[in-house]
């Protein structure tokens, strides 16, 4: 395909900015840029120019740039942000600090909550009240409002969150407060819960709105400075930003609702997986993206990633690698439903007093990094185990720059794992790798088995720097037979940026019994109004596809299932809603309950604009065929140590070749175990298949 101009996807992480471009001929170009400069915007602009210059492309021909960044996540994690305030309903000052009051861990009397982003002194109450049905119980008392704003002003508040009880059903009080804030506190940014997250649950909505307020000034400044920097380097593309739901939006909306962009990196990778999987004839895919300290997984069915309406950030990880839900900040907003565990290449292995081995959740980070980096890290990591076992090699530089030292890896494993357990170094390294695989596999299980899906019907798509090296063994344990490894696996999130659709959403909390009279008409009217909201603002190119969805539950349930809403000749079909809900309930939880009432908790309209990039050409040169000596790799007690061939992607074709094979690439290393075959299809994707042999 050809495009009008060059499209760029730019994924800024902690140490690197990955840039993936699609030139006018549909060719993919890539560059990993060091984030050396303190100013991230400058690193990005310079990195792009370096890539363009290298390829002989004029800066002015870049027409579109889609961006995702960890800057938002980092500012929450490091708590670097503006002075924030919160305005709430009288009587509810402590909703944020009290949360749901649950402990994420048992028997740990010394457990500490993550302190809220707004301290109590900057949470102020206003006399007002909405009822559950949206009627006004008590109008806003203007004096109490002014006093509240004065209290925030006196503390130098720069960003204000407003979250009133029941504002999800009637936003007018929040809007009145916003108007008054604009008059009396003109410099401050404003985040209204009724706009950010208009759904039930005061704690979840407050938490989401406060997080938005915390990000707003910083992100607005960052995006403006990025636009400026690009301009000074003669780059004037349409700038778009990735959202956690896997869609992209324009700068204006990103500045208005930064919280929706908070967790966009993983979302980009999943979108890439959905597109590539579908294009390859694998519409049902489980993704496995392994990075430095975490592994993430998402479920894609029929080419569509599963989405969720709630997530949690800053969640501590338990000793078994599982996220301790309830320990971080809950965000109620559309996200790709991904599971994350605290095990990646840099995760540290250790042995406790009782002689029990664990991997993660502590990671060695980029500095000092794994012991084998030779940067002073003394604790053994998964990467060190991989090196000792032969999966990684001293002669291959990671990311083109970092050289590994095997003797340092061995020393660390000996001291911290092998000696405490009384086993030798190889045994210890194998135990570390296998335990890491088990923990990583848990992320996959969470999004599949725990959602009632049979993993055996899916292909596992491996990405991230560590994914292609672990995926086949994890697939074997899970019972998955096919692993697909796309080109640019290590730069996968950036590729996803090029492939994402633009999207706008509008939603509203309701509380409707499906069988109530007049519900169909009420829903239809509500949806028509929401559709105007979603498409009314400055639109993207093309005609949007409108999707309408409703969140449904059995009366009494708290967890809802989102189902698409079918219309027949414009009319809402409530029987079809019920059927779609019960079908999904049965699939996920194993039964349906025909005699109970169904309730609708929220309605939503999604306007999705056509993808600009549909099917790029994934051909890529890895430097052609070269002869490498074979590597000795230890594949575990059953398969034993074996001599593995070292090949490049170009060496492979449609004909399956039996492992063991190692395929070192610019951004990752692919491992094909002895019980798998590998082939490369026309789209340059590696397909690993498990050989079912009789022992």
């Amino acid at each position: 395909m050809t495009t009008s101009g060059v499209f760029l996807g730019v994924d800024t992480g902690g140490t690197f900015t990955d840039i993936v471009g699609l030139d006018a001929a549909g060719r993919i170009i890539v560059r990993k840029a060091d984030n050396r400069e303190a100013n991230a915007a400058a690193s990005i602009a310079d990195g792009i120019r370096a890539l363009l210059d290298e390829q002989g492309i004029a800066p002015s021909s870049v027409s579109r740039l889609v961006h995702c960044t960890t800057i938002l996540g980092n500012s929450v994690f490091e708590r670097k942000g503006p002075v924030c305030g919160l305005i709430t309903t009288a009587g509810f000052r402590d909703v944020l600090e009290l949360g749901r009051q649950h402990n994420p861990v048992l028997y740990d009397i010394f457990w500490k909550k993550t302190p809220p982003l707004v301290p109590r002194r900057r949470i102020v109450e206003v006399e007002e009240r909405m009822a559950s049905d949206g009627s006004v119980v008590r109008p806003i008392d203007p004096d109490s409002l002014d006093a509240a704003i004065d209290a925030l002003a006196a503390q130098g508040v720069e960003a204000v969150a407003v979250c009133l009880i029941n504002a999800c059903t009637n936003a007018t009080h929040e809007q009145t407060i916003a108007e008054r804030l604009r008059e009396r506190l003109p410099g401050a940014t404003i985040s209204l819960s009724s706009e950010i997250s208009p759904e039930w649950g005061e704690y979840e909505r407050t938490s989401t709105t406060v997080t938005d307020a915390f990000l707003k000034p910083t992100f607005a400044r960052y995006l403006s400075s990025l636009e400026d920097r690009l301009q000074t380097r003669d780059l004037v593309p349409e700038l778009l930003v990735m959202q956690s739901a896997g869609s992209i939006t324009d700068v204006e909306e990103a500045k208005a609702m930064p919280v929706r962009c908070l967790d966009s990196g993983p979302a980009a990778g999943v979108i890439a997986a959905a597109n590539i999987g579908a294009a390859l004839g694998f519409p049902d895919v489980l993704t496995l993206e392994i990075g430095g300290t975490t592994a993430k997984s998402a479920l894609i069915e029929g080419g569509e990633p599963r989405r969720s309406m709630e997530t949690e950030i800053g969640t501590p990880t338990g000793s078994d690698g599982r996220a301790l839900r309830g320990g971080g900040f809950v965000l109620r907003m559309p996200v790709i439903d991904a599971a994350e565990v605290g095990a990646g290449g840099g995760s540290i292995a250790s042995v406790d007093a009782g002689g029990s081995l664990s991997v993660g959740p502590q990671g060695a980070g980029a500095f000092p990094g794994p012991a084998s980096y030779g940067r002073g890290g003394a604790r053994p990591t998964v990467t060190d185990a991989n090196l000792v076992l032969g999966y990684l090699s001293e002669t291959q530089a990671l990311g083109g720059t970092i050289r590994l030292d095997r003797s340092l890896a061995e020393a660390a494993i000996r001291r911290h794992v092998a000696e405490p357990l009384g086993i030798d170094v190889l045994d210890a390294a194998h135990a570390i790798r296998s335990l890491a695989n088990a923990i990583m596999g848990r992320a996959v299980r969470t999004v599949s088995t725990e959602r009632g899906r049979d993993v055996r019907k899916f292909a596992l798509l491996a990405a991230g720097g560590g994914g292609p090296g672990h995926a086949a063994e994890i697939a074997r344990v899970l019972g998955v037979d096919t692993v697909i490894i796309p080109p640019f696996a290590g730069l996968f999130a950036s590729l996803g940026l090029l492939l994402s659709p633009s999207e706008r959403r509008a939603s509203r909390a309701v509380n409707l019994r499906l069988r109530q009279s007049g519900v169909a008409a009420e829903l239809a009217a509500l949806l028509d109004a929401l559709a105007l909201d979603a498409t009314g603002k400055a639109a993207f190119e093309g005609t949007p596809t409108i999707t309408e969805e409703v969140d449904v539950r059995y009366a009494g349930q708290f967890h809802q299932i989102t189902v698409p809403l079918p219309r027949r000749d414009g009319a809402v079909d409530t029987a079809a809603i019920r059927e779609a809900f019960e079908m999904e309930h049965e699939r996920t939880y194993g039964y349906r309950s025909p005699r109970e009432h169904c309730e609708i908790a929220a309605v939503r309209v999604v306007a999705r604009y056509p993808r600009v990039v549909t099917s790029p050409n994934f051909q890529r040169s890895e430097g052609g065929k070269t002869a490498h000596p074979p590597r000795r790799i230890y594949f575990g007690p059953r398969l034993g140590p074996q001599s593995a061939r070292v090949l490049s992607r170009e060496d492979l074709g449609e004909k399956p070749v039996q492992g063991p094979i190692v395929i070192p690439e610019y951004d990752t290393t692919v491992i094909v175990p002895p019980d798998f075959t590998v082939r490369r299809n026309a789209a340059n994707v590696l397909i690993l298949e498990r050989v079912k042999t009789e022992p």
Partner: protein, 584 residues
């Protein structure tokens, strides 16, 4: 490069470390998955929002292998539940069976807690058990919610289900379901939650079966034996490091819901080498009211306190229990005999934990917190809508924790024994004709200390229904959560009902009719403080003052910290002088 060789990672017992870790992690994962399934498919607010339910896995001998991230007060009864199941069914376990009971004198919880146990078979052999318990929003009886504060016999508390088969080799016992349906006020919610428990047991069966198939039965048995031994070893090593001796402590439950007289729990913890014995035989005799605590529940309370002091690193399984014994003389209110009323036993279970904490504070003072609001205060609202629909709403008031030897209490965290969620204000209002007008921390209410207790919380409800019934259980109206090491006690609880122009201070436990515009104002106890308040870091006092958790007067009068009204900073000199004078 050194030569590769085939190897196996073996521990002393012959099982490789890796397989052991895989099976150990898988077991906790299965328990958590059972819990997830129960929470997501349940119907009542108590299961889906408050998370008042639990799940666990036992081996073929009924020994607990793993438990979910749920309620220690439930899970501590699992050993007793499994004993009851073995006593009742002996060797008659069959694939597809699910056993059910809520009998306080058999499985040993209280009647609203219905327990399901499913034997798990793999290759036609008994391989283990899945357990799922949920606190149901109604079990019939004299008051909605199954916790009538004025009950005096088990027969009045609701439908007692003896240990019988809910499923017989895969076939549901329709007769029993119909009996349950016709005895409870909200049959859809109760049966919906029960089916959630069935789903959880089903998940346990499927996942454990697959796990054993993957590893083989011999390896699985080896791993579980090793897992229990590992927990026992760690537990014994920790106890051995504590000073030998007998440590006694006494605490009270304010009243039994019938008579306004305090009831005492007296416990003695004996540390003897690497084992620990706890005896409650000197406690008061069983009472007429419903706070009697069945022995399995007493065990759960005592065990939870010991586990908190041991720390979270030791796996919570039957191996850990081996080093700990709990006894109480039958006929005491911590080991009642039929037909004692027990529906409010959770409060006593929590006080049992307090007594163990108080005793252990003498042995290992650096590991024990001051007294917390040890049990939530549950209320049940019941009404009938204009359309004739019966509504039952259960809510928990959660308040303050005690200060710790090294840090302040976290504000408003659920009790150790009862790790529940609160109900969302908005969802409560959307589900039941109530308006919550207040849910917040109460300033100046903490148990003062070097490390202070958590503030008390208050909840205020206005009734919007024409008429509703309210059952409420609270405690610490007269007694107070104690401090440690010179820390002050927390404040006591108070509950007020406003009906018309009249404001009544209620007893701790009550059932009453409420009418439109009546108000319930619930103020629950705060946490006790740890250490002398005069040793508290003045900077921490200042932070509390700036956050309006503590007033300037209290900072001065209780903590001896003088805060300058002009600069809002600590007046160091004045503080030193005041503290010197106060210490005299």
């Amino acid at each position: 490069m050194e030569p590769m060789r085939d190897f196996e990672t073996r521990s002393d017992d012959g099982l490789d470390i890796l397989t052991f870790e895989l099976i150990r992690n898988a077991l906790s994962e299965i328990a958590d998955e059972m819990m997830t399934s129960l929470v997501r498919t349940g119907r009542s607010v108590n299961t889906t929002q408050a998370l008042d339910c639990s799940a666990g896995l036992a081996d073929a001998d009924g020994q607990l292998l793993a438990q979910a991230l749920a309620l220690p007060g439930h899970m501590g009864t699992f050993p007793g539940v499994m004993r009851a199941v073995f006593d009742r069914f002996g060797s008659e376990f069959r694939p597809g069976d699910i056993y059910i009971s809520n009998d306080p004198f058999s499985v040993g919880l209280h009647m609203p807690d219905i327990v399901l146990v499913r034997p798990i078979f793999q290759a036609k052999e008994l391989a283990g058990f899945a357990l799922a318990v949920a606190h149901h929003v109604d079990v019939g009886g004299m008051a909605a919610g199954g916790m009538p504060t004025y009950a005096t016999e088990v027969y009045a508390e609701g439908l007692r289900i003896p240990l019988v088969r809910l499923y017989d080799q895969g076939r549901v016992n329709e007769t029993l379901l119909e009996i349950i349906r016709s005895n409870v006020r909200v049959p859809d919610l109760v049966v919906g939650d029960l089916m959630g428990q069935v789903a959880a047991c089903h998940v346990g069966q499927k996942r454990l079966e697959a796990l054993i198939r993957d590893h083989g039965r011999v390896t699985f048995d080896q791993a579980t034996t090793q897992l229990l031994d590992y927990a026992e070893r760690m537990c014994r090593a920790a106890i051995a490091a504590w000073p030998d001796g007998s440590y006694s402590f006494e605490d009270v439950v304010d009243d039994d819901g019938n008579e306004a007289a305090a009831i005492a729990i007296r416990g003695t913890v004996t540390i003897d080498g690497d084992s620990l014995r706890i005896d409650f035989s000197d406690s008061d005799p069983q009472v007429k009211g419903s706070v009697n605590c069945p022995i399995h529940s007493t065990f759960a309370g005592a065990l939870t306190a010991v586990q908190c002091v041991l720390g979270a690193a030791i796996p919570a399984n039957a191996g850990l229990f081996r080093a700990i014994s709990v006894t109480a003389r039958p006929g005491t209110f911590v080991s009642p005999v039929e037909p004692a009323a027990t529906c409010n036993r959770a409060l006593t279970l929590a006080r049992v934990a307090d007594v163990v904490f108080g005793a252990l504070a003498q042995a290992v003072p650096d590991r024990v917190p001051a007294c917390s609001e040890s049990m939530t205060s549950p209320m049940t609202w019941s009404t009938t809508t204009a359309e004739g629909e019966r509504l039952v709403w259960v809510d928990n008031h959660i308040s303050g924790r005690g200060g710790l030897p090294t840090m302040d209490a976290q504000e408003g965290i659920a009790p150790f024994v009862y790790n529940a969620n609160n109900d969302s204000v908005e969802i409560t209002e959307a589900s039941f004709p109530l308006r919550l007008e207040r849910f917040r921390l109460i300033p100046d209410s903490e148990g003062a200390g070097k490390f202070r207790g958590g503030l008390a919380t208050e909840r205020l409800y206005r009734v919007l229904a024409r008429e509703a019934t309210l059952t409420y259980r609270s405690d610490r109206h007269t007694s107070r959560p104690w401090g440690l090491a010179g820390g002050h006690p927390g404040r006591n609880s108070n509950v007020f009902v406003t009906a018309g122009d009249e404001v009544v201070q209620t007893p701790p436990k009550f059932t009453r009719a409420m009418h439109r515009e009546d108000v319930l104002h619930s103020i629950m106890q705060s946490g006790g403080g740890w250490g002398n308040p005069l040793d508290r870091d003045p900077a921490a006092v200042l932070e509390d003052v700036l956050d309006e958790k503590i007033g300037r007067d209290r900072a001065r009068d209780v903590y001896g910290v003088v805060i300058s009204p002009v600069t809002s900073s600590v007046d160091t000199e004045a503080t030193a002088a005041l503290r010197a004078e106060m210490s005299r």
